[in-house]
Amino acid sequence: MQILMKKIGIFLLATLLLSACGMQDSNMDTMRSNNVGQAGSLARFAIDGNRLYVVDKTSLITIDISTPNEPKKTHQTNIGLGIETIFPYQNKLFIGSEDAVYIYDFSNPDRPELLSRYQHITACDPVVAQGNYAYVTLRSGSGRCPRNINVLEVLDISNPRNPQVVGSVNMLNPHGLGVNGNNLFVCEGNFGLKRFDISNPTQPQQIEFLQDIASFDVIPRSQTLVVTGQNGLYQFDYSQIPMQQLSFISVQQ
């Protein structure tokens, strides 16, 4: 009986995994919009399945939201100091902190397992992932160590237990970033917004630099890009080069 139950369990798991892969390939945007929303790269909340993952300054907290009326904290683990962002991708959580990128596996949702910690000597900001690569921005800023490092780094995460730097691009003052298909967008703070072609994922090629668009964070949807910055909220259609501004909501001065 137990063996039968186990087999059924494995079958169900396999079906789930297969359907999840199917969604990733074809229907990602529909799923996103109907079911779970899409956050910018500076988020501290991430939903996957029936779990909400939250990072505060020091820890990763798992909350079971299968019954929204009765959320339950199921796990909390200490990560380190200066935790800033969380990005869920394919059963993994990419966590950005002031000095490192952490990769957690959450195959067991209530026991996220630390796979690796990729450490920097200086400020390390958000991280996003696509395919076998993760993109991280490092910025030297006020209140942090005065090293002059402003870089976009490409990490090979094909072995998430041992991420390797395989590319880097000098930046001015990078903040949030977003990736979708061959497009990588990097916010350069008050310097503007950059668009890279990443058809070669390890060598991002800059194809646009919008110097008038002060930007902190982006959400690249399938064709449109949402950008937030000090002056307000912009939306672009990026199906062409150059991308076309669709709308702008100004902040109140």
Binding site: F45, L52, K73, R221, T228, S247, V251
Partner: protein, 177 residues
């Protein structure tokens, strides 16, 4: 208290070495720094949906279906109908004290509020309702420490919960990180 002092000491030491820039450990008479802004716990129990208001200090962004959410750090979330990205229409402002993040699944919006987790039903975005609150589930939020390293006015929990930090001139501050 000893443990806390030890933590502060460790952080100071690590800063000292990582920055290669020795700084005096003595508090100066006057220095730029942050002081906490408190609110009573009671007032943070209120969630209200207000008519749209202008963006002031746009923070985090979130897209859910045809809706766009823009955070106003510490204050709440602006909700837009974004069915047409060429013309996003402001719907309302959701006031959430000491809020920094949201996430949404199946028309339920999850938001932090001063260490609590709030769950709201947004199936009717014009009439958002609070369905549950999990207290003190996020212990170490952005609001417990100042946004930048340096001197700050020490936290006094008896004054309430911290909803923001204000940059100001401090006199002989005893805390730093």
């Amino acid at each position: 208290m000893k443990k806390r002092l030890f933590q502060v000491f460790c952080v100071s030491v690590s800063l000292f070495f990582s920055c290669n820039k020795p700084e005096s450990k003595l508090a100066p008479d006057e220095v730029e720094g942050y002081k906490p802004i408190y609110a009573s716990r009671n007032s943070t129990n209120q969630i209200s949906q207000l008519s749209p208001k202008p963006l002031k200090n746009p923070g985090k962004i979130y897209v859910y279906g045809n809706f766009l959410f823009v955070g106003e750090k510490g204050k709440g979330v602006h909700i837009f109908n974004n069915a047409n990205p060429s013309n996003p229409v402001p719907l309302s402002f959701l006031e959430i004290p000491a809020n920094s993040d949201i996430a949404i699944k199946n028309d339920y919006l999850y938001a932090d509020s001063a260490g609590d987790l709030l769950v709201m039903n947004i199936s009717n975005p014009n009439q958002v309702t609070l369905v549950s609150r999990l207290e003190n589930v996020i212990p170490n939020t952005n609001f417990q420490v100042p946004p930048e390293r340096g001197f700050f006015e020490c936290v006094d929990n008896s004054k309430g919960i911290i909803v923001a930090w204000e940059k100001t001139t401090l006199r002989k501050p005893k805390c730093r990180y």
